[in-house]
């Protein structure tokens, strides 16, 4: 049997017609499905709130300062993520390491603040089962926290063992960081929406 060419096209360079490499299109599609996931959860929020006889103001239960701090933290981390992506495109690996490292640290800060918030709620005997507001609060932020955690693990991998590809195949590595950045920005946007709906509205 003759040897077949099993290489998959457009893994690194873009397909001219679509202007995308495979992974980038894949990430856009994934984010589209994520929009629908959070869309489902947000519509549950709207539905429950409309049906409720009484709905507490977010600020009476949640701490706006802590939420605001976390918003700033995540927005900053989005900026550092973009800087990391830009740096790796120009093959400036030291800058890349610093910025991605900062992104990871900021994500850790976010998670710490979030767990502090959760802990405060629990210590005041406020659980998901206490009322519908808390239930949807824990569900929405819990799913979001999982997304932050996922992004954190991936970024840590690219910062650590995964960064070797930066020398061996810099273009492919730049692509990877680019789509990791897309994901991270999405997680950031979701948080902003969460902050507005749960804390402020």
């Amino acid at each position: 049997m003759s040897v077949m060419n099993t290489a998959i096209p457009y893994t690194v360079e873009a397909r001219p017609e679509t202007g995308l490499y495979n992974a980038k299109l894949g990430m856009w599609l994934f984010l589209a499905s994520e929009v629908m996931l959070f869309g489902g959860l947000f519509s549950a929020y709207v539905f429950l709130r409309m049906a409720a006889a009484h709905w507490p103001a977010g600020s009476s239960i949640l701490s706006i300062p802590l939420g605001a701090v976390n918003t700033v933290v995540l927005i900053t981390s989005s900026i550092t993520m973009s800087l990391a992506s830009a740096a790796v495109k120009e093959r400036k690996f030291d800058q890349f390491k610093v910025n991605l490292g900062l992104t990871i640290l900021l994500a850790l800060v976010f998670l710490s603040v979030k767990s502090f918030e959760y802990g405060m709620k629990f210590s005041h005997h406020m659980y998901p089962k206490t009322n519908t507001f808390l239930a949807i609060y824990f569900a929405l932020t819990g799913v979001h926290v999982l997304h932050v955690l996922g992004g954190l693990v991936v970024n840590a991998y690219f910062w650590g063992p995964g960064s070797r590809m930066g020398q061996a195949d810099p273009q492919r590595f730049a692509n990877r960081i680019e789509i990791a950045g897309l994901y991270w920005n999405f997680v950031d946007v979701v948080w902003i929406l969460l902050f507005v709906t749960l804390y402020l509205l």
């Binding site: 049997m1 099993t6 998959i8 495979n22 894949g26 994934f30 996931l37 489902g40 089962k129």
Partner: protein, 571 residues
């Protein structure tokens, strides 16, 4: 030796080759299909002869499910819920999308593999994990999920532990189909061979593309709903539990304030697109086979493509036709009634194109073609009986009766499952290099066709009489059901006979695989699409050289051409 062993694992078990993944999906899903079918065979005994012990098999079911061989109501409910879940999510969709889609898409678009081979492998393994989770759920205390395959709360919220396992299984299945759909769409957009424009894609690929979009966008809201139901069950929240709920005379100790309707909205937002996930790939398979066997071009290829796109879009705004009885109000009902009527138009257009294609063809009646042809009227009956359901006033009478069961089974059983059989008979020579036996094929087809109708046609009559679809004894206690109860025996007989007549298929499959054929033909059906230009069976990487495409997918009997088919890759 060790090296060889590892390469066997790599090649056949943990392979990233789309064809191996496709075959893995196919075999696993066929087993689930058979298993889900067997669950229904048990239910049919209880419906035909309520309260009598099931002969032979009854004693094996265990004292907590069927003491003395008589099925308990709780176990009956488990059977019903798991039959639906297994058939749809573990049988039919994995066959249509996981098996046929995986195997054929890269071949039909002239690609060496999927865009993300590792994701593809991961998709299969998460599917298997989800499936095993569902099987395990039969053995947790209280048995498997027993709140229907639609898992309606409040019942599902307070059901036995099996429901939690069901939700976990669903999360695996959803993840798997998410990975699959991202892969399929990327592959179709990015890896089409040179010259293969969108309007030259085989209709099957179009159908799979739209299906993938439905899976990608409709499943996540169900995942959201699943997460919320998990919260309700594990963290005692009340997303789907209204205030003041009383269970067995005791007020339920929850905060309340939730809404059972919320679940229904989220569920059917997936649920309706899901029915098109079942339908569209079947239409794709059937189209390929019919065009090949009429030896003339497809009538209205473009119209069919536009229809399928329109179907995909519309399927997102019809979901609440499953909820007319929930009191959601006449304005909403009127809206969803209108969209439901509109969505039936593109289905009819596609069906008409296929029927019109037959006109003037020199039809070859082989087994795949017989199955494909019978799909048309069977789907026709299923679709037409859907229209009355779409009208709110009529649905008030028909909702949750056997009429609904008849409606959708005409589409999924003699419709989609026949399309699957057609596809297996048709592409078997490409996958294995061997042909399946024609005589056994006919022995499979004709009885199956008659028995399928014997099962589902009487259900319309029972449904019109108002018999509910969820009764443990088939309605024996209701006066209005008395006139149509006797039909149950005939239906059950047909179901058991149908099981019997699947044996020729199983024998055929195994026997054809084992037999030795002289030289495998690359293109035994004289077809035009790219998969037939690949070596047989296609090796890793698929093509000797990446093909170029010069023409549309169905150039049969082109005037002036030497042969009655002109492959897409022929200059």
């Amino acid at each position: 030796m060790i090296l060889q062993g590892r390469s066997f694992l790599r090649r056949c078990i943990f392979s990233t080759d789309h064809k191996v993944v496709g075959i893995q999906y196919g075999i696993t899903a066929l087993f689930f299909l058979l298993f889900g079918f067997c669950l229904m065979l048990l239910m049919r005994w209880q419906l035909a002869y309520p309260g009598t012990p099931i002969p032979w098999i009854g004693q094996w079911l265990g004292e907590n499910r069927a003491p003395g061989g008589v099925v308990l109501p709780e176990f009956y409910n488990e059977l019903g819920a798991m039959h639906g879940t297994i058939m749809v999510f573990l049988g039919v969709v994995p066959l249509l999308v996981g098996a046929f889609g995986n195997y054929l898409i890269p071949l039909q678009i002239g690609a060496p593999d999927m865009a993300f081979p590792k994701l593809n492998m991961a998709s299969y393994w998460t599917y298997l994990l989800g499936g095993l989770t569902m099987l395990v759920s039969f053995f947790v205390p209280g048995g498997a999920a027993n709140s229907g395959c639609t898992a309606y709360p409040p019942l599902a919220d307070i059901a036995t532990a099996g429901q939690t396992v069901w939700l976990l299984g669903m999360v695996c299945i959803i993840t798997s189909s998410l990975l699959g759909s991202i892969n399929f769409i990327t592959t179709i957009f990015q890896l089409r061979a040179e010259g293969l424009t969108f309007m030259r894609l085989p209709f099957f690929v179009w159908a799979q593309l739209i299906t993938s979009f439905l899976l990608l966008l409709a499943f996540p809201p169900l995942e959201a709903a699943g997460i919320l139901q998990l919260f309700d069950r594990v963290a005692a929240t009340s997303f789907f539990l209204p205030s003041g709920l009383v269970v067995s005379g005791e007020p339920l100790k929850v905060s309340g304030g939730g809404s059972a309707l919320l679940w229904q909205h989220l569920f059917w937002f997936l649920g309706h697109p899901e029915v098109y996930v079942i339908l569209l790939p079947s239409m794709g398979i059937v189209t390929e086979i019919i065009v090949n066997n009429i030896r003339r071009p497809l009538y209205g290829y473009r119209t069919m493509v536009y229809s399928v796109i329109f179907l995909g879009l519309m399927s997102f705004i019809v979901w609440a036709h499953h909820m007319y009885l929930t009191g959601m109000g006449t304005a909403l009902s009127a809206f969803f009634q209108t969209t439901t009527m509109i969505i039936s138009i593109p289905s009819v257009v596609i069906l008409s194109c296929l029927f019109l294609s037959l006109w003037g063809g020199s039809i070859r009646f082989n087994t795949p073609m017989l199955f494909a042809l019978s799909f048309l009227p069977m789907f026709g009956i299923g679709g037409l009986t859907g229209l009355p359901l779409g009208v709110a006033t009529v649905d008030i009478h028909l909702h949750d009766t056997y009429y609904v069961i008849g409606h959708f089974h005409y589409i999924v059983a003699p419709g989609t499952i026949f399309a699957i059989f057609a596809g297996i008979y048709y592409w078997f020579p490409k996958v294995t290099g061997k042909r399946m036996n024609e005589n056994l094929g006919q022995l499979h087809f004709w009885p199956s066709l008659f028995l399928m109708n014997g099962i589902f046609m009487p259900m319309f009559i029972q449904g019109l009489a108002g018999v509910s679809r969820r009764l443990y004894d088939g309605g024996a206690q209701y006066a209005h059901a008395q006139g149509v109860l006797h039909l149950n025996v005939g239906i059950s007989m047909c179901a058991w006979l149908l099981a019997l007549f699947q044996i020729p298929f199983i024998v055929n499959l195994i026997w054809s695989m084992a037999k030795k054929e002289k030289a495998a033909l690359d293109n035994p059906w004289e077809a035009t699409t790219l998969e037939w230009a690949a070596p047989t069976p296609p090796p890793h990487g698929n093509f000797r050289e990446i093909p170029k495409v010069y023409r549309g997918p169905y150039e049969y009997s082109v005037p002036g051409a030497a042969k009655d088919f002109t492959p897409q890759s022929e200059a």
